[in-house]
Amino acid sequence: MENPARRIAINFGGGYVPGLNSVVTGVVLAASQLGWEVVGIRDGFDGLLFPDRYPEGGLVTLTPTLVENLAGAGGCILGTAARSDPFHVRTINAENMVEEVDRSDELLGVIQKEKIDTVISVVGARALSILWKLSRKGLKTVCVPKSVENDVAATMLSFGFNSGLSFVADMLERCRQAAQSARRVGVVEVLGEHAGWLALQAGMAVCADAVLIPEIPYDLRKVALKLREKATAGRGFGLVVVAEGAKPLAGLGGAAKTLDAPMKAALSPGAAGGESFHVMDRSGQAAAEVALEIQRLTDQETTPLVLGQLAKGGTPTVVDRQLGLGYGAGAVRALEAGRSGVMVVFQPPDLKFVPMNEAINQVRTVPADSELIHIARALGISLGD
């Protein structure tokens, strides 16, 4: 296929995960092989929407020389954009009033004016939906999935997951040692609102006593039984891993959380107490609740600990570096093949391209018959069921 010189851009939607720089390196190296020019957009689309904020320019020209030593580095040279949404840009209007305005058309105009042919975007679930809306309005784009929870559908592995997993497993090991010296039960909360991959795989790696994931509602009496057996055998300590989205079995421990919110009740219909629909469980709540209940059921002291967002930091593992480079190069390959509106996915052993909307409104969860579930059970790890 004829491939004339092209100018493509790369940006990141959503927050930081380890390995972002590897994707940049992958894109730049692969594009330079084809003689294409690559620019990076700072902070999501902010570099184009708010050029004034960037004295050195909202676009960064990315050359192979610049990115050569980047792949293994932590941090992210382009900046991230956890809250950047061109359809709802917070603005102060002429009357000094704050409002959110739709600047998507303007953004597409700037992209055209900058002669950017295609935007390669690194996305999590939210940024994917926003990018999809832009692509429906005519933006040519190829996206790459990132997720520390590994919950993006259509791909076996999002980058960032492996680094998060290594970190979490490492921390769990330390927690277990700490719990052992203190003769306590450590209850550690890890990321995973809808999908329990991180809790399950890290918990398995350190042979935790129990792993509670969103996919399997738990009954803490089962977990307590297991911990008590262990204590009877003279090993009075333990480690319970709980994903932040794990929930008790319906009707159990379901003493509906009563939230003391009289004023809340005053302000939105039906938004009072446990009924409140924009109150999500707070980070740390799962660990706190499980720890308290286990203490009650086992009469052993428990210590809750939250790893939460820490799993999203740090430098990438070798697996994530490879994956990031692969995804970056894969995105360029998709463009070379004339594809647009697709996501690069890893379906071992292949990198494939699937239409973006196949990953929208989907969450990759742990299936009940997953081999990982079987292995965990075989190892005697309680899943709370």
Partner: protein, 322 residues
């Protein structure tokens, strides 16, 4: 949201809620009407559903009975494909989810939901409809010296509707109060204030730059509006208020600066401190999208006492037991 809605909304207004028997929003027992829409974005805002001047979808997953049992909203209802369920069968949780980045708040899914898991925040109501609801409490507030308070959001954004509502309330003999942050064009205030008995207005921060950082816009217009309002409406009672947020404005400097601002005006009859409450142990989601509220804590009783003493002294009254 855009300005075309602003100020020209009469004869109907976008009402978020009407709350009966309130005791903190002005004198006596009051009925508080909350209007939707705001012109600031305070980082500690605990009512994100009041921010936008348009009806918005609200989803309560606790009420959804799931795709298998019901699934009505999933059947070609949503033009944006914003509603979905994550698998079913082997998954214990087949409750519907809303993709908030795709939802345009069109409301089409609301009537099909049998359990009211899907509802709308914000209803268009006429002056008469609002007052009919308010007057149910008539006997209570007449006895207690109470009345109707209109709050928000920023109630002044719907100035025409608000003026009509307050004028009609006055005609019916109802005492009126508004709660406002006053970041609106002066015209809006000029229209509304003739119909208000008590104006409860926020002074969140006095420094313009800090105000901008924490509340989204600076306070130059607020200060100009308030001064002009104090002077233009000498018979209206004003009560200044500060929501006390530790680490933001819980310091003597802020209290003294506010006092210096209000004290020259005899019609500013009080300065109240509202201790910020974190509502429950919840991480707030704004209609789905994780809301930017960080962990603000509540001020300690000692801090409040110390700050209130400064105010009491300025107003020349003994420190009140609270």
């Amino acid at each position: 949201m855009s300005n075309q809605h602003v100020s020209t909304r009469a004869p109907t207004g976008l009402v978020l809620n009407i709350q009966h028997f309130c005791t903190h929003d002005g004198p006596g027992i009051r009925t508080t009407v909350f209007l939707k829409g705001c012109s600031l974005r305070c980082k500690w805002c605990s009512n994100p559903e009041s921010i936008h001047l348009k009806p918005e979808l609200a989803y309560n997953p606790r009420k959804c009975i799931g795709e298998k049992e019901c699934g009505f909203c999933l059947k070609d209802v949503c033009p944006e494909s914003a509603l979905y369920a994550v698998g079913s069968g082997d998954r214990p949780d087949d409750k519907v989810r809303v993709n908030w980045d795709l939802c345009t708040n069109c409301g089409r899914c609301v009537p099909v939901c049998p359990t009211h898991a899907l509802t709308l925040f914000g209803q268009e109501m006429t002056v008469d409809q609002v007052l009919e609801e308010v007057e149910q409490d008539g006997s209570f507030y007449r006895e207690s010296g109470g009345g109707m308070t209109v709050s928000g959001g920023e109630c002044l954004l719907q100035a025409d509707f608000l003026a009509a509502l307050l004028a009609e309330a006055h005609r019916r003999g109802i005492n009126t109060a508004i709660e406002t942050a006053s970041n609106v064009p002066w015209d809006f205030m000029a229209k509304v204030l003739p119909h208000v008995d008590t104006v409860l207005h926020d002074i969140k921060l006095t420094d313009p730059e800090r105000h901008k950082r924490w509340c989204g816009a600076d306070n130059t217009r607020i200060r100009a509006n308030l001064k002009r309002a104090y002077e233009t409406f000498p018979d209206t009672k004003f009560i200044a208020r500060t929501p006390v947020i530790p680490g933001v404005n819980d310091d003597e400097e802020h209290i003294r600066a506010t006092l210096a601002f209000i004290k020259p005006y005899k019609n500013v009859i009080d300065y109240e401190l509202l201790p910020y409450h974190r509502f429950g142990e919840g991480k707030y989601e704004f209609l789905g999208a994780v809301y930017e509220m960080q962990d603000f804590t509540s001020p300690s009783p000692e801090t409040l006492k110390r700050l209130r003493e400064i105010i009491d002294e300025a107003f020349g009254r003994p420190t009140q037991a609270r």
